[in-house]
């Protein structure tokens, strides 16, 4: 990696100030996506602003209607949280299958959604549950947050401070892992609750996570795997790589979605 300056602010405000002052600076949270990029010299930030010393950014709060996970909470903490398991078991389970133990102990929800890797797991949960992303300056609805491949609505000097998930009636996530990386080759999160019936697909889309309107419509009429019978996913906008063609991904979206609905009960 190239040289960079290193800052370790104690508050979000301080972090934002540092970020605003230097357009070449980058926030580092768990480092699980950023460090590999730096090691391959594919990015050259002037400074890293480490969120690791900001106590306000860690923690999980569950109310009667929502689960709020602060931005620097690790995947391992979410996976192990008894409260999350009770309120949104699908979310805890999703977190428990991200990467390996080392990755789960470092990687964070804020980093995951800010990065918006098109094969990451969390974006599917955020979108399907209709979560609200809290940032250092505003609240962003999930539908407005993910704007494209590795792209989000975040401004350059904006930090994800928390993600607030409404507690659904039913929800499940089923992932077909890429055999090599174990990221999602196709992952489908289905949910039914205060935000309606929503289906989000990760891993498959050429532009990142997306909602599957045809499936949502069918499931809104009848919440059952059978309701998805015959619903196809247009392959044109899907990823195509050495592991899976567009057609295979489109097929897997259907299979994963049915399994997710069955799992959600």
């Amino acid at each position: 990696m190239y040289d960079f300056a290193y800052h370790r602010p104690a508050t979000v405000a301080e972090a934002v100030k540092l970020l605003a002052a230097d357009p070449e600076a980058k926030v580092i949270s768990g480092g699980m996506s950023l460090i590999p990029v730096l090691k391959q010299r594919l990015a050259r930030p002037s400074a890293l602003i480490d969120l690791g010393a900001i106590p306000d950014l860690v923690g999980i709060a569950v109310s009667a209607t929502t689960v709020t996970i602060r931005g620097r909470t690790t995947h391992a903490a979410v996976a192990a949280s008894a409260e999350v398991k009770r309120a949104i078991p699908a979310l805890a389970e999703l977190a428990s299958h991200i990467g390996d133990p080392q990755v789960r102990n470092r990687g964070t929800i804020g980093g995951s959604i800010a990065h918006h890797d098109p094969t990451a797991d969390y974006p599917a949960a955020v979108l399907a549950l209709g979560a609200t992303v809290h940032t250092s300056r505003r609240r962003i609805a999930a539908d407005d947050f993910f704007t494209g491949l590795f792209a989000t609505a975040l401004e350059p000097d904006e930090i994800v401070t928390a993600v607030e998930f409404p507690i659904p009636e039913k929800a499940a996530y089923v992932k077909f892992p890429n055999p090599a990386s174990r990221y999602a080759m196709v992952g489908v999160f289905v949910a039914k609750g205060p935000m309606g019936v929503r289906v989000a697909v990760t891993g498959a889309g050429a532009h990142g996570v997306f909602r599957h309107a045809a499936m949502e419509e069918a499931l809104a009429k009848s919440w059952s795997p059978e309701a998805l019978e015959g619903i196809t996913t247009p392959a044109a906008d899907l990823n195509n790589d050495i592991h899976a063609s567009r057609e295979y991904r489109a097929h897997l979206v259907g299979v994963m979605a049915k399994r997710a609905v069955a799992k959600a009960g």
Partner: protein, 793 residues
């Protein structure tokens, strides 16, 4: 101390060091005043270097030197040599184009080294490497065998027409034609043996040092055979006489063949250390490993098997195209020839075999031996073909094998492809594997799986391999430019402890345990009194290293020979001390005893007498107790066995789960059953990896698409079942231990059993063969095509 001799599952002594982080790997070695090398590699598969400008790099902070191919050429550095010459059908030698250490004029694969930057720190060297500017003329690439053989294909080497390295054959063509002429049925198969990237856990590393006071060079390197590296690099590349060059291969974290070869980086750091008069270290990162370690396999094959009306094999005809990559790696030419076509008889009595192998240069990383080397390719082809023959004949897969097995009373058995098998009992390994795997109750499990919506299949392979490499005169006549004996030096220390210097090298195999067990068994001393030393040319006599499952069969035999010499001399010393005739001295359980009496001397007493020769037959016997033996094997050894695999397929996604795996192997005498089990399991894991997961993919431009762990699927623990390992042994008849070898059998036997199981699971979907790896997508396509056919009917 419990029983530690031959047959005891002694825990591996080296593991405490490895598992507690106390190993000393090459990258752990840091020399005073050390510098760091970073190698600039070609981003192109094929390009001419119009100009290289290193000015800015040389001016960068911390940089000590920047060298290119021109600098090495000016210093008369030779190219990397090839250790095996294969001849064409007409007897002419193969094409052997030069392999410069740093590219000269042209690069031939992504990752081809172009320049080296040496700096005070690795980061500085890396920064500076980015400041080298190269003016490229990018050329069209020949990225695959097929592309390289197209008329008008780009030439990887301007003076190798058609990109053909050699066009070789083996066997009796006329006899094979006669066999096909009377065939009742012919089974045919086209297959690709997928290209693999070895990925030892420890990336390659090399540290070179030069002592200006003595003129001595030292190279620490991740090698399976330090003496071979010293010979090749000293004599052919850097022109350093052997007495001025020491090569040390300390703890090495896995090799699987990929650390046999003499690599450019070894020569670079050694040469640069001499230039700079400072130590130079290079350590590969994983990305470099992917594009610079020799790859494995990569065949395209067409095969036909002629059968009579009883399902007996009459003749086998094989045409193989083998990828050499861009340059000839050290042993590359022998892999698809003498380690491949010679195995095409398998365990069967096929009377006539003819194989043609064309080796092809491509704009890819060099391809060489990888765990099994040629034998997995032969076994996969043959076992898949036998399954297809069973289908053609409407015969049971087990029955067709039994009917063609070489019977156990037929040994020694001369195959039509040059090898003479010494021993084996193929019915027995088969029977035990059928029994252990529950082969005969499989249909119940298939039905049960079907109720769960899964397609379950079972596959079998009855393989043989040739290892214990190899009789020097034989391999010499086949083109090897080296002998393949092994050496052992046994030094009995004055108080009776024993140090064994072996020319083999352990990089995961557990020699420090197995060899110590041999010594404990032989000398009746506890293993704690035995030290195994390997991997240092300054300590060990000239030995050939570890590959081809040779260490115990060849290196162990040398230890036995040296032990015999020690015991013979010690008996003479004991006879003197006990005032008896040497013929009356018995040696047992560590005691020299006058037969039939209680007069005895311990091994330690005799050792001490040898080094403190006060009361000693000094007139007729030299003092000291140290012996060296070289052992040249009389033949290859021939492990064989039966692997049975069961899989379940999810028909909706195409995912395959290996649910059962049984291996029953004849590896000859077993010294340490636990280590054998571990070796077989590791090999099977790699075999399952090849069959289901791993594949190296280049695009048409020669860019490596599977260039990291994100895209290259290594098998993980959760991809593997609990592998059941058994042994059913016949002794090797020509080495003193009766051992055959166990390091590669897993990687050889497993792939056809796995693919056989996948094909069996898909039997209702009209498929006869699936190329490796059988990925979910491939399987889904087969099922999907079948569904569409059915829908259309």
């Amino acid at each position: 101390m419990g029983f530690e001799g031959i047959g005891a599952s002694v825990r591996r002594r080296e593991d405490l060091r490895f598992l507690s982080g106390r190993g000393t790997y090459t990258d752990d070695i840091n020399r005073p005043n050390q510098t760091y090398a970073v190698i600039l590699r070609s981003p192109h598969a094929h390009a001419r270097i119009r100009a290289i400008d290193t000015t800015r790099a040389r001016a960068a902070p911390g940089v000590l030197a920047v060298f290119t191919g021109a600098d090495m050429a000016a210093d008369k550095v030779g190219g990397l040599p090839c250790g095996w010459q294969v001849k064409n059908k007409d007897g002419s030698p193969m094409a052997e184009p030069p392999h410069p250490v740093l590219a000269v004029g042209k690069v031939r694969h992504v990752g081809d080294p172009v320049a080296v930057v040496i700096a005070e720190t690795k980061a500085e060297a890396r920064d500076a490497a980015e400041r080298i500017t190269i003016e490229w003329e990018v050329l069209p690439a020949a990225a695959t065998i097929e592309a390289a053989l197209q008329p008008g294909a780009p030439l990887v080497h301007d003076d190798v027409p058609g990109n053909v390295c050699y066009d070789w054959h083996l066997g009796d063509k006329a006899a094979v034609e006669a066999g096909f002429a009377k065939a009742h049925k012919v089974a045919r198969l086209e297959l690709v043996n997928n290209r693999l990237i070895p990925n030892a856990m420890e990336p390659r590393c090399a540290v070179g040092e030069y002592d200006p006071a003595t003129g001595d060079y030292t190279l620490w390197t991740t090698s399976q055979n330090p003496h071979v590296i010293r010979l090749l690099m000293g004599a052919f590349v850097l022109n350093i006489p052997e007495h001025k060059l020491r090569v040390v291969a300390p703890d090495v974290g896995g090799g699987f063949g990929s650390k046999i070869y003499h690599y450019a980086e070894e020569a670079i750091v050694t040469w640069a250390a001499g230039k700079l008069k400072r130590p130079v270290k290079w350590t590969a990162d994983r990305t470099e490993s992917f594009m610079s370690d020799a790859h494995g396999r990569d065949h395209v094959t067409h095969a036909e098997l002629a059968l009579d009306e009883h399902g007996r094999f009459l003749a086998l005809r094989v045409r193989t195209l083998a990828n050499m990559g861009a340059y000839l790696s050290t042993f590359a030419p022998c892999v698809p020839t003498y380690l491949y076509a010679t195995l095409l008889a398998g365990v069967y009595t096929t009377p006539a075999i003819y194989a043609e192998v064309k080796a092809v240069f491509t704009n890819t990383v060099p391809v060489d031996a990888y765990r099994g080397a040629g034998r997995p390719e032969a076994t996969f082809l043959l076992e898949r073909l036998v399954d297809i023959a069973a289908l053609e004949m409407g015969m049971d897969r087990v029955e067709i094998r039994r009917r063609n097995f070489i019977p156990k009373d037929a040994f020694p058995y001369q195959t039509p492809v040059a090898l003479q098998y010494d021993s084996g009992d193929y019915h027995r390994t088969l029977d035990e594997a059928l029994q252990a795997s529950g082969w005969h109750t499989f249909e119940q499990r298939r039905a049960e799986a079907a109720r769960r919506g899964k397609l379950r299949g079972i596959g079998i392979s009855t393989y043989i391999e040739a290892c214990g490499i190899a009789p020097s005169a034989v391999v010499g006549s086949l083109g090897a430019r080296a002998g393949l004996y092994e050496v052992a030096n046994i030094r009995v220390n004055p108080t009776g402890s024993i140090t064994v210097f072996t020319g083999t090298h352990s990089h995961g195999q557990g020699h420090e345990t197995t060899f110590a067990q041999l010594i404990a068994d032989r000398f009746g001393v506890p293993m704690s009194q035995v030290e195994i030393v390997h991997g240092d040319t300054a300590k060990v006599p000239f030995g050939m290293g570890t590959y081809g499952s040779r260490s115990l069969a060849v290196g162990g035999s040398a230890i036995v020979k040296a032990s015999d010499k020690i015991i013979a001399k010690a008996k003479r010393i004991a006879a003197h001390l006990l005032e008896a005739s040497v013929d009356d001295i018995e040696f047992k359980d560590g005691m020299f005893r006058v037969a039939g009496t209680d007069r005895a001397k311990s091994f330690a007493e005799v050792s001490l007498a040898a080094y403190v020769p006060h009361n000693y037959p000094i007139e007729e016997l030299e003092p000291g107790l140290e012996e060296t033996a070289f052992y040249d094997p009389k033949n290859f050894t021939f492990p064989a066995g039966c692997h049975i695999c069961e899989v379940e397929i999810d028909p909706e996604t195409g995912e395959v789960e290996v649910v059962n795996f049984t291996a029953v192997d004849d590896v000859g005498r077993v010294i340490n059953p636990m280590i054998v089990e571990g070796q077989v399991q590791g090999g099977v894991a790699q075999g399952i990896g090849q069959a289901l997961l791993e594949t190296c993919v280049y695009d048409d431009a020669g860019q490596l698409l599977s260039g990291s762990m994100m895209d290259y699927t290594m098998p993980r623990a959760d991809d593997l079942p609990d592998i059941r390992v058994g042994t059913a042994v016949t002794m090797c008849t020509h080495n003193p231990l009766g051992v055959k070898g166990c390091g590669e059998v897993g990687a050889i036997g497993a792939p056809p059993a796995v693919i056989g199981a996948v094909v069996d699971a898909l039997r209702d979907w009209g498929v006869r063969h699936i190329d490796m790896p059988a990925t979910p997508q491939k399987i889904w396509r087969i099922i999907e095509a079948g569904r569409q056919r059915r829908a259309a009917e």
